[in-house]
């Protein structure tokens, strides 16, 4: 065990910090507004041109082959510098790891570089009006017609779906199948005939969600990720990335925890909140340590299974707790527009997306503790 960063890791950190020091944009509008979307896309281009958009990917696809530890260092420096939220996070953090694991060489070459450059924005097409927590009950279907799928159905809660170019979706490709069997993981261009995208205003008034309607949409069978009918397995791998370390690296939460300490020092009261502030900071630091722990395990050849659900419970509830504590410190100012209020509203979504925390607790109980279904 060695918690000291190597010389190479320290050099990497210095390189990140120096680049952010010189290239950080000023504050951007919300990425869910047309103006903010373009600002975020421009920032992503700048990141990509300098080779920072997907540091741990293979060079061939736009990465710089950083280790997972270096990736965590990148994330720490990214959020310490106060850099903007990542516009293509569904593509970068959810689809890309899945493509790298299950995609054909052709698929990787076709889809990964435009994710890194943010030329193609992705959304997730899993939930349906009647299939949320019970995802395996989904009914959107893919019917085979020669070398094409014909897609029909309705997907919903697709974050950034309004701006997305592509959707990775889960479809029932075997009409006689039930539940987890007979599903396929299909990559769908949202400009295909028969696709209708309807924005849904979120509680912050921005169209953060979309509903996606599919009426006889034709896509090549070559857009299937992994074997036909194996979609559930592939999707659960994506879900592992979503709940595990990849989507929510500790850098962002540590930055929030440090801002919370500053807020407490600045306000100085109520003193009774000192214990809650310490608790919040400790939760974020514990998450950082748990992430280095998990990443070290992966680098030593280990795997992370259902434990990813523990991770999701921790970061989502810790993020909410930090923001609630900040709002309590702000007293009267708590409902004023600003980063704490924005962050609070965003953190409220954490226990819901990527599988509700009730589902995560079921997974932990059943697959880690072995309790009966």
């Amino acid at each position: 065990m060695d918690l000291a960063f190597t010389t190479q890791e320290q050099a990497f950190r210095a390189q990140c910090a120096s680049w952010f020091g010189q290239n950080l944009p000023g504050p951007l509008a919300s990425m869910d507004t047309p103006e903010g979307f373009e600002q975020h896309r421009a920032w992503e281009k700048r990141l990509h041109d300098a080779g920072w958009s997907a540091v741990n990917w293979p060079r061939a696809f736009g990465g710089r082959e950083a280790t997972l530890i270096e990736w965590l260092i990148f994330e720490e420096e990214y959020y310490r510098a106060g850099a903007p939220r990542r516009l293509n996070q569904n593509g970068l953090f959810l689809l890309a790891p899945t493509l790298l694991e299950f995609g054909t060489e052709e698929q990787k070459q076709r889809f990964l570089p435009p994710i890194a450059s943010c030329d193609e924005i992705w959304c997730q097409g899993w939930s349906e009006p009647n299939a949320g927590s019970d995802l395996a009950s989904l009914t959107s279907r893919a019917t085979r017609d020669g070398s094409e799928w014909i897609l029909n159905g309705q997907k919903t809660w697709a974050s950034r779906g309004v701006y997305a170019d592509w959707m990775f979706g889960l479809f029932r490709s075997d009409a006689s199948s039930e539940r987890h069997r007979g599903l396929s993981y299909i990559l769908v261009p949202l400009d295909a005939p028969g696709v209708t995208v309807r924005p849904i205003a979120q509680i912050d008034s921005e169209p953060g969600f979309a509903e996606v309607f599919l009426d006889d949409v034709r896509v090549p069978v070559a857009n299937t990720l992994g074997p036909e009918g194996d979609g559930w397995k592939i999707a659960m791998s994506t879900a592992g990335f979503e709940r595990g370390v990849v989507l929510r690296s500790p850098g962002r939460f540590m930055a929030t925890a440090d801002r919370l300490l500053e807020l407490f020092k600045e306000r100085g009261s109520p003193a009774a909140l000192q214990d809650d502030v310490a608790r919040a900071w400790m939760s974020a630091d514990a998450y950082r340590l748990a992430t280095f722990w998990a990443v070290s395990k992966l680098m030593d050849g280990g795997t992370i299974g259902a434990e990813a659900s523990l991770n999701k419970l921790w970061w989502s509830e810790m993020d909410l707790y930090m923001h609630e504590t900040a709002l309590r410190l702000l007293g009267d100012d708590a409902t004023l527009d600003g980063p704490w209020l924005d962050g609070f509203v965003f953190s409220l979504a954490g226990p819901i997306y990527a599988g509700t925390n009730e589902i995560q607790r079921n997974i932990v109980a059943e697959r880690v503790l072995g309790l009966p279904r």
């Binding site: 000291a4 214990d275 310490a278 400790m282 722990w293 523990l310 009730e358 880690v368 279904r373």
Partner: protein, 300 residues
């Protein structure tokens, strides 16, 4: 940076688990201190780990195993406070007014004016204290504190090491309590189903496990800071004790609620683990005291 126990550390922990499964089954954990077992711990090298060149990091998995077994011997005191340097049965009154297992000790480490001394048990006057954990009897020293031989040891380091040791034992105690509850929830049927199939039970135990799993890396980080004599020892040790203590107290409560009435008896083993959790959670500073120490370190 590599933040995982090494293969050697994991192997030693497995060996210790096997030894304790044999030497300290639940009925032995209930019965309390055993001189015969103490000799075996010595033989295994578990008492003089620090003296034989192991680091605080090596000790964490061993202490966690001791917690899993609810080992009723003063391992924290002998191995971490005395550092394995003293012969016989060793306990200590450092960082605490109370001395565990003083009745069976040959030697007691005490503190005076910021230094550590070893005294023979016969040289001090002991007063037993009624306490929750019968397998870990505690005493007050009411006389003889002016005697003893000075030890070449840093008082604060010893205190921080003991606090780390308690945090590590709490992790093991908590893990085992959750396992007992999960085992029971699989077996016990009500309404025609195992109670573990009900979400109210599942979610309670999942939460208990969550806090234990997130406390573990925190405990290892504190061990790392100690092994490096980092400037952040106090903050990191306090964070470890606070989080392991809260996690263990939560695990005890969740386990008891899962077991229901049988958990509230001495017929089931859970009470032995629960009582040790309460005892170690209060010893060497409770979670609130340690969180206050973290707060003053980070909100400077």
């Amino acid at each position: 940076m590599r933040f995982q126990p090494t293969a050697d550390q994991q192997l030693f922990a497995r060996t210790v688990r096997e030894l304790l499964e044999k030497e300290c089954p639940p009925e032995a954990a209930r019965a309390g201190f055993s001189g015969e077992r103490w000799a075996k711990l010595r033989e295994m090298g578990m008492i003089d780990m620090l003296a034989s060149g192991m680091t605080e990091i090596d000790l964490v998995p061993i202490l966690e195993e001791a917690g899993r077994a609810a080992l009723p011997e003063p391992l924290i005191e002998a191995a971490l406070i005395a550092g394995g340097a003293l012969d016989g049965v060793v306990t200590a009154a450092v960082g605490s007014r109370f001395v565990a297992h003083a009745d069976v000790a040959d030697v007691i480490v005490i503190e005076r004016d910021g230094a550590l001394y070893s005294v023979r048990r016969e040289a001090v006057t002991l007063q037993p204290v009624e306490t929750i954990d019968a397998a870990r009897p505690v005493f007050l020293i009411t006389g003889g504190l002016e005697s003893g031989t000075v030890l070449e040891a840093d008082r604060d380091l010893a205190d921080n090491r003991a606090t780390l040791g308690a945090a590590a034992e709490l992790l093991g105690l908590a893990s085992r309590s959750i396992e007992m509850a999960a085992d029971y929830a699989k077996e016990r049927h009500q309404f025609g189903k195992p109670i573990g199939s009900f979400q109210a039970v599942k979610h309670k135990l999942a939460d208990a496990l969550l806090h234990v799993e997130f406390a573990r890396p925190v405990v290892y980080r504190a061990a790392w800071s100690l092994s490096q004599r980092d400037e952040t020892i106090e903050r990191d040790v306090s964070m470890a004790k606070a989080m392991a203590g809260d996690a263990a107290a939560g695990a005890a409560k969740a386990a008891l609620q899962t077991l229901g009435a049988i958990g509230y008896t001495q017929e089931h083993d859970l009470h032995v683990w629960m009582k040790r959790i309460w005892a170690l959670n209060a010893a060497w500073g409770n979670p609130d005291q340690h969180r206050a120490r973290v707060a003053s370190a980070v909100i400077a």
